[in-house]
Amino acid sequence: MTTGHESTSKDVVTDVQVRLGQLLSRGLAGDADAYQDFLWRLAGYLRGYMRRRIWDHPDDVEDLVQETLLAVHLQRHTYDPERPFGPWMHAIARYKMVDAWRSRETRAYEVDMPEDGEDLFATPDAEDSLARRDLMKLLARLPEGQRLPIQYTRLGGMTVAEAARVTGMSEAAVKVAVHRGLKALCTLARKVRYANL
């Protein structure tokens, strides 16, 4: 039997994990609204989690939140809806945090993170911030075939069909281009982080 306060916060955390897992599962099945809701909520939790831990470079928090969202997006196919969402998400968040620290001067930094990652889903920070490093600038370094579909679907929120009409590509080709562009962006963001130190 646990004290009232303890069991409440643990239940809340579990509920959050279950909720996010359900949203992601629906997103994987093609529910775009659920997926957007998932990403939005996850961003809040990641932001709170990382703000609590990256106390020496607070400017970097939003960059890492965005990079982690991008990573989750690119690897979402590895999430098994039958399994708990928490361990999957925490492993990815932890991996990105350790990678971020490794790219700093303090190479021997021992990351102090609780293994169970309960506090990833504790207190979200829903403030929509500007990242220091602008992913749009990195976007400019992509080849046109990958950059344009991303810019069109972003600028004025064009749908895939509209972007296909404007670029003259097929809808399928637009989707492939966006996906490839995002992968390239992810790699580029890592390289820039390592170069900036």
């Binding site: 997103g27 994987l28 099945a29 093609g30 775009a32 997926y35 957007q36 990403l39 939005w40 961003a43 939003e62 939140v65 965005q66 969202l69 991008l70 990573a71 997006h73 690119l74 690897q75 979402r76 196919h77 590895t78 098994d80 399994r83 708990p84 928490g86 361990p87 999957w88 998400m89 925490h90 492993a91 990815i92 932890r94 991996y95 990678d99 929509d128 911030s129 500007l130 990242a131 602008d134 992913l135 749009m136 991303i150 679907t153 972003r154 929120g157 749908t159 895939v160 989707k175 966006v178 996906h179 995002l182 992810c186």
Partner: protein, 213 residues
């Protein structure tokens, strides 16, 4: 860029994910690696000339069982090491079973053999090349499997690399058993095991370099 803008871009890329199951992907990689490794073995080493007669010997099947059990357990370990949040579970324990089994037989063999035969039980005729040849045959498995692992977002890179190496070595040992003339349990337990552990060590060392995403 505001995070809300990024989210909008990502949501536009959100097609229903066609789930080719992670295990299926690994099995496909293992199959392609197996074909390549078999071809490599046939071209460079040749299947043993007396293979048909050898199938009558218990130890022929013992070698295959040793390799296949390790292969299966290692492949499951690769799967778990490749997916964020999965734990190795009982796999490390399962991996210990074949070596323990072969050495149980091996110790009995050595104990019951005349003293002057013990060295030849252990060294056989091919001890100097066996681990290297198994490592060579593990390369096709390793290349195919590491590609599959990289597509899975592994978060423990050394474990994933070592598991991939272990699987590759074990599968290579199965292929090698079709060529190898040695039949003594002490030999298998030493030199086959060394040939299996070597790719695992290479995978441990190279894991971060190969798998970072």
């Amino acid at each position: 860029m505001r995070t809300s803008e990024l989210i909008r871009i990502l949501a536009a890329d959100a097609d229903p994910v066609v789930r080719s199951s992670p295990r299926g992907r690994l099995l496909r990689a293992a199959t392609w690696g197996g074909v390549a490794s078999l071809v490599l073995m046939v071209l460079t080493l040749k299947v043993r000339a007396d293979v048909v007669q050898a199938t009558l010997l218990a130890m022929f099947w013992g070698k295959l069982a040793f390799g296949l059990m390790l292969t299966a357990a290692a492949l499951e370990l690769v799967h778990r090491a490749s997916i964020p949040g999965r734990t190795p579970g009982a796999m490390p324990v399962l991996l210990a079973v074949p070596p323990v089994a072969i050495w149980s037989v091996g110790i009995l063999d050595l104990a019951s053999a005349p003293a002057d035969e013990r060295v030849s039980l252990l060294l056989g005729q091919t001890w100097a090349v066996c681990p290297a040849l198994i490592t060579m045959l593990s390369v096709p498995f390793f290349l195919a499997t590491i590609r599959a692992v990289r597509s899975q977002a592994p978060t423990r890179l050394r474990l994933a690399g070592a598991a991939t190496g272990l699987f590759s070595g074990a599968a290579a040992a199965v292929v090698y058993a079709l060529h190898c003339p040695e039949m003594a349990a002490p030999f298998i337990g030493t030199w086959y095991l060394l040939g299996i552990v070597t790719p695992a060590a290479i995978g441990w060392i190279a894991g971060p370099r190969l798998l970072r995403w």
